[in-house]
Symmetry: none
Subunit: 154 residues, 4 copies
Amino acid sequence: MTAAGWQGHGFTAYPGKNNDMNITLEQAHKVFHAALEKAKEMEVMQNIAIVDSGANLVFFGSMDEAWIGSIDIAIRKAKTARYFDMDTQALGKMAQPGEPLYGIEASNGGLIVFGGGIPLKAGGKVIGAIGVSGGTVEEDIEVAEAGVEALNNA
Amino acid sequence: MTAAGWQGHGFTAYPGKNNDMNITLEQAHKVFHAALEKAKEMEVMQNIAIVDSGANLVFFGSMDEAWIGSIDIAIRKAKTARYFDMDTQALGKMAQPGEPLYGIEASNGGLIVFGGGIPLKAGGKVIGAIGVSGGTVEEDIEVAEAGVEALNNA
Amino acid sequence: MTAAGWQGHGFTAYPGKNNDMNITLEQAHKVFHAALEKAKEMEVMQNIAIVDSGANLVFFGSMDEAWIGSIDIAIRKAKTARYFDMDTQALGKMAQPGEPLYGIEASNGGLIVFGGGIPLKAGGKVIGAIGVSGGTVEEDIEVAEAGVEALNNA
Amino acid sequence: MTAAGWQGHGFTAYPGKNNDMNITLEQAHKVFHAALEKAKEMEVMQNIAIVDSGANLVFFGSMDEAWIGSIDIAIRKAKTARYFDMDTQALGKMAQPGEPLYGIEASNGGLIVFGGGIPLKAGGKVIGAIGVSGGTVEEDIEVAEAGVEALNNA
């Protein structure tokens, strides 16, 4: 295999996961950074995940001392929010016993049906989602919202 | 539940995953950044993952246009390197047909047995590992090594 | 490959998973033995699992006649307790319908959200966790607590 | 639920996994102890797993500093040896490219097809299996054989 490698001569040869409606690494980093700063300010040790429009992981960071079990939850919150283009808190209300989507968390290899996952939008389109886990649900939501806001104000 | 949350009044109430022999978020970010700069310089679209001493994901970033299938491979490379405290390329030689560890990739939910995963050390101890996927194996190794070097020179 | 093998000449060449904040095999055996004695005294056939600070299995034993299905539950209880540094019974209260963490058991490949998993601490730090399954939840908790006590009194 | 619990008044109410052809906890502990002593003598950090006649985990211990990735391999070696009542090294020869069982490691959620897993027999019947991982394949086999010998000499 030559040094040129599998990717040929330019970034467009293999389009990969990116397109006009997808979050970029730069945008994801901005969202992550804003959420991290919020978590530091609140003194809560968070795991922060961002997925793209294909629900694939695009950025992730885990604060020192954050719960190990929250790594997976942060990622699943982000995926869940993108799977249904809906806040995981809103989905959670429909997933309670007796409600229309009861048991939905058993699908897709495991969803998270409480708050902390929020879609990320640009130009009215969902381009990804953020998921935060490590604090109380209220804290997770507050940190995720700081990430959303950073994208909207960019 | 009050705003104070489950984590009490400070960072020490719940020790979480961190300890003296574990990579910190700051260190992981430094490793990621160096690897990313190298990948940009080489014009290869990479996925870059860093795990801690417990083989848990601590940092991840995916460059625009990087292969979707390489997200999982980058993470598995980092985990594999930490699982055996060994370069995945070295492990791969032992995993070939007729070699002692043939078939080892079927363990641990799936290992990666080609280059691009390298342990991260500090003070002679393994504190985590980096995994890179998206280019040729040679390119992946070169980018991972840039991450390792950044930690060693820190 | 020579008899000296991959691990060089001593225990320090490859630091592996151990460190100052991790449970040792000797400690884990002590915890297991105390729990086992308690279970024998209570005449309940238990599965007893101990994980380290990385939530990796470090010790396990299954009493004759214990339920097969409880093997996995004991291991998951120990992992769950370490994932969130919390008694699985306490986590279970927050995982009920209408409570903040409803549905959390779908994360991390499957959690157990009833009693019988308890973190193991030393010097104020979580160094692992014990999980017990095979009796009633009350019996499981009693046996797990006997294990915790053995570590605290060591 | 009363103190009597689900298991009624004696050990025979729920027969569970045990029967005349199954390894007991006492036997498994003896096998483990002999293997552990051998590993200590050889100064190799091993993970040692014992499964019963149903291929269910019955005993496990991980030495301090043992590789994290070898936990899963030790357990899979024991299961593999019982699945086919055959030394994993012997199975491995048939699993090489061009041989009759090529690719068999992809079955059963992942098998291990190199040495270190050996069936445990009593009265000519397979009552379980031992799996050892953490050293070279030769070291793993030597430690596993020490466990087998302890059962045969009991």
